[in-house]
Amino acid sequence: MGKNKLAVFGVGVIIILSLAAAFAPFISTHDPAAINIKDALLGPSRQHFLGTDQLGRDIFSRMIYGSRVALSIGLVAVGIAAIIGIVLGSIAGFYGGWIDSLIMRFVDIMLCFPRFFLILSVVAIVGPNIFNVMVIIGLTGWMGVARLIRAEILSLKSRDFISASRALGANNFHIIFRHLIPNGIGPVLVSFVFGVAGAILTEAGLSYLGLGVQPPKASWGNILFEGRAVLGVGWWMILFPGLAILITVLSFNLFGEGLRDIINPRTRE
């Protein structure tokens, strides 16, 4: 019972966040990149709701703009992972045989790499910026989707309505894209929601290391990166962006749990 309310809470937070991202220029009180050394490292006040950083930039405004980064990285990375995962997973599940073995071995191999090691290696080559980070998180995060959709298609493909469609003369393309994927997409959709949460966490981690979104562009992770230098003094630079990440990731996870219960009532407790 309580679970539904939690899912609604999650959706509510996601909506508020999306609005903040969309209307960032109107909500933020300062220019997020404006440097003002004489206001450096001020605590939260009426002037600066969440304080300022070493360069006197307004943390509240930087965090509002940071929500754009978090959401767009979450969505684009998951979009890329979804396309690769769905295409490879459905090909593997539908054709079976050596194609299946080949694709699934590739999945196994990709899963052997600790994700951060792989991401860092690629960042070292292509350089850190918001676009590269989105793409790399997507390219290293499709394996779960591929496994899920393959399993769904394997269980669907011998069902009667597929045989019926084939008897009516449908080709493989039609069967995969009009019947198998739409019917098997449920659990995969749920995994997208969890995927957004994971991508936001990954971006924050990368930016915290200084290898993600680069200042002056604000991201929650790079505010934390700069906050680390003033550990023990500028607590507001550490507390607030971290809470933003926590609440956002929590909301996507709660939303995902709720969605899973709707799609598959058996998991309901």
Binding site: P114, F116, L118, L120, L250, N253
Partner: protein, 325 residues
């Protein structure tokens, strides 16, 4: 059992080849050669020098030849020389691997020791205050970024309260300590990092343990055990627990790459000289050979972790050993 182990090890070979191919391609698809970077730091070097360097590193040969050469060196644990300080990458990685492995093994231990009783208790007292508090902890544990948690703990316990050292794994006067003192010193430094490293796994595994226990409790043989008058203790700890533990071993095996991934973060936060920190430093310096060596070895560690989990599973559950596959 032995034949099962051999079969598993043979099954690993294609994965190993795949890992080396992907690691090799990732680095070699880079625009520009590593030698160009070396020369950027030295403006006096001419094109001629670059060609010479290419020859030394073998970069003038076709890609597949380069791969095979690299593979041959790789199996002799020769990963090339670091661009930063000219030391062999092998030495740099191997002197840092023990600390990363130590922290991850200890973290796994912590996860195992705490999450299992937590999972059991949540399952038996489902819906209780304890169960609900644990559920909240699980969701927070999943959502809290590890490095943020680390920063908060450092700010509170190290900077403000001074209970724990701020960074590193040894104190400045480490050399003067007795044997026991040295162990105590390292342990003192590792408490916060291990806590941070295990928190995500703790949340995940106790959740799985709870689910696994709930699945078992409703099975017929548990009802039979109760019906023949066994005490609740015996039913839960003798009959239910053994079967509920099985999937947990797989989960622990699967959490290995995540833990190693996490080393990158918490080693950076706590300035621990392990593989994760080495990797981050190498990325900043674009030290390609170190990156490549670190990438391959991290995947290798994952493979070994998964293999150990599989073997343990087969050892405990004969159905796997003698099963179809």
């Amino acid at each position: 059992m032995l034949s099962y182990i051999i079969k598993r090890i043979i099954g690993i070979i294609p994965l190993l080849i795949g890992i080396t191919i992907i690691s090799f391609l990732v680095i070699h698809l880079a625009p520009g050669k590593p030698t160009e970077l070396m020369l950027q730091m030295n403006p006096k070097a001419a094109l001629e020098a670059q060609e010479k360097l290419d020859k030394i590193f073998g970069l003038d040969r076709p890609l597949h030849i380069q791969y095979l050469t690299w593979l041959k060196d790789f199996f002799r644990f020769d990963f090339g020389v670091s661009f930063i300080d000219g030391r062999p990458v092998r030495d740099k990685i191997f002197e840092r691997m023990p600390i990363t492995i130590l922290i991850n093994v200890l973290a796994l231990l912590v996860i195992f020791i705490f999450s299992i009783p937590i999972g059991i208790k949540s399952a038996i007292r489902r819906g209780s205050f304890f169960d609900r508090s644990i559920t909240i902890f699980v969701f927070l544990g999943f959502a809290a970024p590890g490095f943020w948690l680390a920063l908060i703990l450092m700010d509170l316990f190290s900077v403000r309260l001074g209970w724990f050292p701020v960074s590193g794994i040894t104190s400045l006067d480490f050399e003067n300590f007795s044997h026991l003192g040295k162990i105590a010193d390292v342990a003192h430094h590792l408490i916060l990092p291990i806590f941070v490293a295990s928190i995500g796994g703790l949340a995940g595994v106790s959740r799985y343990m709870r689910q696994s226990m709930l699945n078992i409790i409703h099975q017929d043989y548990i009802r039979t055990a109760r019906a023949k008058g066994l005490s609740e203790r015996l039913v839960i700890y003798r009959h239910a627990l053994r079967n509920a533990l099985l999937p947990i071993i797989t989960i622990l095996g699967l959490s290995v790459p995540g833990l190693i991934s996490g080393s990158v973060i918490f080693e950076s936060v706590f300035s621990i000289p392990g593989m994760g920190k080495l990797m981050v430093d190498a990325v900043f310096a674009r030290d390609y050979y170190t990156i490549m060596g670190g990438l391959v070895l991290s995947a290798l560690l994952t493979l070994i972790g998964n293999l150990l989990a599989d073997i343990t599973y087969a050892y405990i559950d004969p159905r796997i050993r003698y099963g179809k596959k």
